[in-house]
Amino acid sequence: MNRRPFALYTAMLAGYAFLYIPIFSVIAYSFNASRVSTVWGGFSLRWYGELLANQQLLDAVQRSFLIAAITATAAVALGTASGLALSRFGRFPGRGLLSLMNSAPMVMPDVMIGLSSLLLFVTLQQAFDWPDRGMTTITLAHITLTACYVTVVVRSRMTSMDESLEEAAMDLGARPWRVFFVITLPLIAPALLAGWLLAFTLSLDDLVIASFTSGPGSSTLPMVVYSKVKLGVTPEINALATIIVVAVALGVSLAGIAMHRRDREAD
């Protein structure tokens, strides 16, 4: 089929324009000297300066990154255990429950997870005096949600993977524990990395669950951004969005180039 319909190209172009025009407009406005974004007041780096001078925002960035890193690491551990159990152990008592508990959080609105986690933490605190609402509670709630996403990634990798390597190792007398670390883990490493990045991004991006479970003085980056955005368009947020978009684009391109190069070497 050589005829490339003109209508298809137009529709694709419109779709990509829809995806990218808002992003490029934010980047352009971040260099606008004028506070009123509808007027172009000349090129300026003023908002980047104000962003870097905003201690509240910088504290929130640091907090969010710490929460996201701990969350992603714990979520990969939990998600790998769930994924391993669901894809390799066959039938075992509680399999249906584990599968349900792994898929339910993903179809559940954030507000529900936020409220229910908060009520758990309040109840725990009444009974055991632990945990204090703050970074701990945000991290615990984030781990619970993101582990389910890691499970999906790991599970799909495991089911598509050839089981014969593991079986061969087992036939040659390797213990299950050793098989996991020497054979399975290296094979699912890309899935673990993808799961870690996914969990990290989800945690870094979450406003709703963090708002419910945070305590005084533990506002995360999305919470600070939200409180500013509710007041209207703020130029510093344009600068922040630009930094994040550029960082993500760089990361994704580098990863893409690395993968491309590896594929070429493999060929």
């Binding site: 779709g15 934010v26 229910s116 758990l120 109840t123 893409g256």
Partner: protein
């Protein structure tokens, strides 16, 4: 003296390391038995039970209590211990009665369904051509196009929603462009309206529609289309009779991925919508943060569980069963 204390320190660490190895050996031995598997399954099981199942039991409990303002936590205890040692259980169904009697809650639920279903339709209309184009593109081009679709997903959705504000607001980019070609009056904008919410949901969830659609279309055997063409079918006819039915699994998967999170969406209607863009997620947020009525917010959560999450899980279960059976039959 110093040597003795040093040997004491070393002795201590030696014991630690030896015990650690002993522990590893023990764990290793566990893993050789069926109990090893039990350990691997019980860890996520216990975690999810504690942090996911138990919370909903607590929510259910609190939804039957009544709000008391000015104390922590702001609700009544269900079980009361009287001075004479008698224990009384007091369940208040008033929160659920409120959900049914006040039209605010029913209309918020219907509005959420409306936002989600119309946005899903627009995502399909906008996403299908993109997915089709990606599936038919050359492999090297395909990768670039896919990355361009996924890239926005890795940036914050809050910031992307914020980016739309600058476009949709009065005298924003869209208003300026449209007034320059004299389609609208200067000062026009649709921020803080239902239309802005639709744009926001479609903008945020479009990648979730495109990805499963692309995956399905890439598996599609395009020689079928050539065969249809050779047999004299018009392109449109061939599309309706072959491509569309064969891409149905992708359409269903994409529609679910958009519809489900869109129903409970809070951020987009809250930032882009007006005060009347009240979705069920926003109502829950307001009951909790503004009105500080925790029991009513808990009742809303239970209602969402029954009306949104349970049907979704049931649908997914039935779909998976059907897919498994189809796979078994072929």
């Amino acid at each position: 003296m110093r040597a003795a204390s040093a040997s004491g320190v070393w002795g201590f660490w030696f014991d630690v390391v030896r015990n650690l190895f002993g522990w590893f050996r023990l764990v290793g031995r566990e893993f050789r038995t069926r109990r090893g598997r039990f350990l691997v399954t019980s860890l996520p099981m216990l975690w999810l039970a504690l942090f996911f199942l138990v919370p909903f039991l607590i929510v259910l409990k609190i939804s039957f209590s009544q709000a008391v303002f000015g104390q922590v936590p702001p609700y009544t205890a269900l079980v009361e211990h009287a001075a004479d040692g008698a224990v009384s259980l007091r369940l208040h169904a008033s929160n659920y009665a409120m959900l049914l009697s006040d039209p605010l809650y029913v209309s918020a639920y219907l509005k959420s369904l409306l936002f989600a279903s119309v946005s899903t339709g627009f995502c399909l209309l906008l996403g299908y051509p993109i997915a089709y184009g990606i599936a038919r593109a050359r492999p090297s081009m395909r990768l670039v196009l896919l990355v361009l679709v996924v890239l926005p997903f890795w940036t914050s959705s809050l910031l992307r929603t914020y980016a739309l504000m600058g476009i949709l607001k009065a005298n924003g980019l869209l208003g300026q462009v449209l007034s320059a070609i004299a389609l609208v009056e200067p000062g026009w904008g649709i921020l803080y309206s239902d239309a802005a919410v639709y744009v926001g949901i479609v903008y945020n969830y479009l990648p979730f529609m495109i990805l499963p659609l692309t995956a399905t279309l890439m598996r599609l055997d395009f020689t079928l289309l050539e065969a249809a063409e050779d047999l004299g079918a018009k392109p449109w006819h061939a599309f309706m009779r072959i491509t569309l039915p064969l891409s149905m699994p992708g359409i269903i998967a994409g529609a679910l991925l958009v519809f489900i999170p869109a129903v409970g969406e809070f951020v987009i209607p809250d930032i882009l919508g007006g005060p009347d863009a009240l979705t069920i997620g926003r109502v829950l947020w307001i009951e909790f943060f503004t009105n500080r009525d925790w029991p009513l917010a808990a009742a809303v959560t239970i209602a969402m569980l029954v009306l949104i999450v349970a049907p979704t899980l049931l649908f997914e279960y039935v779909e998976n069963r059907r897919a498994d059976q189809e796979a078994a039959n072929t």
